[in-house]
């Protein structure tokens, strides 16, 4: 699975960090940081949850 994020539209709600901390982080300004754009299969459920929870819908899965 491939993950991408649109930092320009991030609102820093932190839902992704709570859902999939191995894949998403927040920088000092609170904006999303992708720490693993190609997460292993066992992360898939958490990443899908993060994408669905993201209130600004900035997480894309490929």
């Amino acid at each position: 699975m491939e993950v991408s994020v649109d930092r320009d539209s991030c609102v820093g709600a932190g839902q992704c960090v709570l859902s999939a901390p191995a894949v998403f982080d927040q920088d000092e300004d609170g904006l999303v940081e992708l720490t693993n754009p190609r997460p292993p299969a066992e992360q898939e459920r958490a990443v899908r949850a993060a994408a669905r929870l993201c209130p600004a819908r900035v997480i894309s899965l490929g």
Binding site: V11, G12, G14, Q26, D29, G30, P55
Partner: protein, 412 residues
């Protein structure tokens, strides 16, 4: 026969008087039964507000999320059709324009100045402070007499002290700002009084910012002043209005979740026992489930359509108001199985108690932290905690923008 024609039937629906919103509750722990009926029969329908306007009420989970994520729906109170909560809210938003009543790009510019303060990591760092304050309040409670009002001695002071510490607002002034914020969130407050109280609160925050311009402090208001006001990115008034928003939002919502959530747990002893045991995964799940079930932000999230939008089979026209009823979405059986039951074993964390879309609650990591600390600590310190009055004597906050219980007399 014309009544069997579905089109004619729909047309007739529009002509009957829409129901009043907010609707009266039956059971104090559940949203109004009429709301559930609407969700099942006409999930997007018109309702009548206090000011005579008839915006659309959106009641299903998926539709509520769709509205709140759609930027064609504006949060700007001044946009044609915006459905105001109360006369008090209208004057308050006119007097102090905070970014929750703006759209992007203005909203994003202000919000981005704050999100670094509310990251998951930064808030996790506040846990020792939240635990210390919780411990001190519970020990003071233990040293006091019973019965006592849990709202007054624990549910309100905890988030109030925490937000004061974070912002740099002196807690010694709590009588002043708590009384003012209570009045501003009361839908029955007269506009003149709301305006006066709003201005007094704003002046108070302006003064705190001004002091920080002279002498920097290491707190949120201090950092905002240092990084944004001194650099000319924000005026003193703008920084004060951001502080005012955080001060009010920071204690009213969490306070009522602590009060109403504790009452709910006391009515469900087995659930209370699981929270008391304190297994972090269970406590976290319990907090999400209580947020979903109780949805203290119970007057809907409000928007104005800026274009014609087709949603759930209904066309909402530009200039019409929309209320995305998150309190109804969180009880939608299409999303949550047996939605009226308290169930810690369901995955509830996709609830919309914090809203959805770009305006979703900025302080949610802080609210979660406070609730995750407060419930188990309270139940552990007072394993025999009980409500000290007959249930029918409890007064619920039907007149307030944030729902809860006005007072919760307890003994232990």
């Amino acid at each position: 026969m014309i009544t069997t024609n579905p089109i004619a039937g729909r047309r007739r629906d529009d002509e009957i008087d829409p129901p009043r919103y907010p609707m009266p509750r039956g059971c104090p722990f559940d949203p109004p039964a009429d709301l559930a009926r609407l969700r099942a029969s006409t999930p997007i329908s018109r309702v009548a507000l206090w000011d005579g306007s008839t915006p659309w009420l959106v009641t299903r989970y998926e539709d509520v999320r769709a509205v709140l994520a759609d930027r064609r729906f504006s949060s700007d109170t001044e946009k044609p059709g915006y459905p105001p909560t109360s006369a008090a809210q209208l004057v308050r938003r006119r007097s102090t324009r905070s970014f929750i009543a703006m759209d992007d790009p203005d909203h994003a510019r202000y919000r981005r100045m704050l999100i670094g303060e509310f990251t998951v990591r930064h808030i996790a760092g506040l846990r020792p402070m939240v635990e210390r304050i919780t411990h001190e309040l519970l020990e003071a409670m233990a040293a006091g007499t019973t019965p006592a009002d849990l709202v007054d001695i624990f549910a309100l002071p905890l988030p109030s002290m925490v937000i004061c510490q974070l912002l740099g607002v002196p807690y010694a002034d709590h009588d002043f700002f708590q009384e003012h914020s209570k009045s501003l969130l009361d839908i029955t407050t007269e506009p003149d009084e709301a305006l006066r109280r709003n201005e007094e609160l704003r002046d108070y925050l302006v003064e705190l910012v001004a002091r920080r311009e002279a002498e920097p402090t290491d707190d949120l208001l201090g950092r905002l002043t240092e990084r944004r006001v001194r650099t000319g990115e924000l005026t003193r008034d703008e920084a004060a209005s951001m502080g005012l928003l955080l001060l009010i939002a920071g204690h009213e919502t969490t306070a009522n979740m602590i009060g109403l959530g504790t009452l709910t747990l006391l009515c469900h002893p087995e659930h209370a026992g699981r929270v008391r045991d304190g297994e972090p995964a269970v406590v976290n799940a319990a907090v999400e489930e209580l947020l979903r079930l109780l949805t203290v932000t119970h007057v809907g999230r409000r928007r104005a359509a800026t274009e014609d939008v087709r949603i759930g089979g209904v066309t909402i026209r530009a200039g019409e108001g929309v209320i995305a009823a998150n309190e109804s979405a969180n009880r939608d059986p299409a999303e949550f199985v047996h939605p009226d039951e308290l169930d810690f074993d369901r995955q509830a964390n996709h609830h919309v108690a914090f809203g959805f879309g770009v305006h979703q609650c900025l302080g949610q990591p802080l609210a979660r932290l406070e609730l995750q600390v407060a419930y188990p600590a309270l139940l552990r310190r007072f394993p025999h905690l009980r409500v000290a009055v007959p249930a029918e004597e409890l007064q619920f906050r039907n007149n307030m923008v944030v729902y809860g219980v006005h007072a919760l007399p307890v003994a232990w």
